[in-house]
Symmetry: C2
Subunit: 141 residues, 2 copies
């Protein structure tokens, strides 16, 4: 019976990122279950709110997801009354995803859950280390 902790493949930053990221996503999914939402819904909601409305193409870029995947996510949020699809003032092809008042309320509540998941993930890091990590992550390609 082996007792050692599982080893980690050397020189694989991508692997470490994906493993920790996957864990964070799974934890947030679990936390969002009572709302009938998943982490990607939260990201759509959060990104739309911060920008005051985003096209679905832009949301795809934020999520790193295919536009076809965005459609289903926005459908879900719209069905729950958390976002609207407004016409774009200049381009009639484009539809702006705008957070409703109820969406803003849900966002405020779920943001706490998202922060909680991050706090758990980063529990062993100090505030300065946490900032360093975030800064480095933002500079990845």
């Amino acid at each position: 019976m082996t007792q050692e902790p599982p080893p980690v493949p050397s020189g694989r930053i991508g692997y470490l990122l994906a493993r920790a990221g996957g864990r964070a996503i799974r934890n947030l999914n679990r936390a969002l279950e009572p709302y009938g939402l998943r982490s990607r819904h939260y990201t759509v909601l959060s990104a739309s709110a911060e920008h005051g409305g985003l096209s679905q193409r832009e949301l795809g870029l934020v999520l790193g997801a295919d536009p076809s995947a965005v459609v289903a996510l926005v459908d879900d949020l719209q069905r729950k009354g958390l976002v609207r699809r407004d016409p774009h003032p200049e381009d009639r092809r484009t539809r702006l995803v705008v957070v409703t008042e109820e969406g803003a309320r849900t966002l405020a509540e779920t943001r706490k859950l998202a922060r909680g998941v991050d706090d758990e993930l980063l529990a062993d890091l100090g505030p300065a280390e946490r900032r360093t990590l975030e800064e480095l992550l933002l500079r990845l390609r």
Copy 2:
């Protein structure tokens, strides 16, 4: 037409991790295509080689995957002759996943690809920053 780069939801380290990790995984999958392998196969190969043989249960912990998912991955690698399932000397339930000579050769080649994916991801970071990032990632829960 909006010209700004897509914004990132604030205070979401888990999100940043998952996004960068997902990109790294996709890039490695693409690079491994000529070998008929995917990034999870590479991780199994790499972890087994470093430890000199791992049980499938341990591989599941390394991958952060269900044991049932490990079975299929090891099946694939065994079919290609890159790993063997050896009996465990002390526990007859357990089967040790051991890298074959051909597996070691494939690992040496694909390791270069994995390093290349990491290098691309980290192109904007200096060596010290890169070490810092890796160290912080290893301390995440």
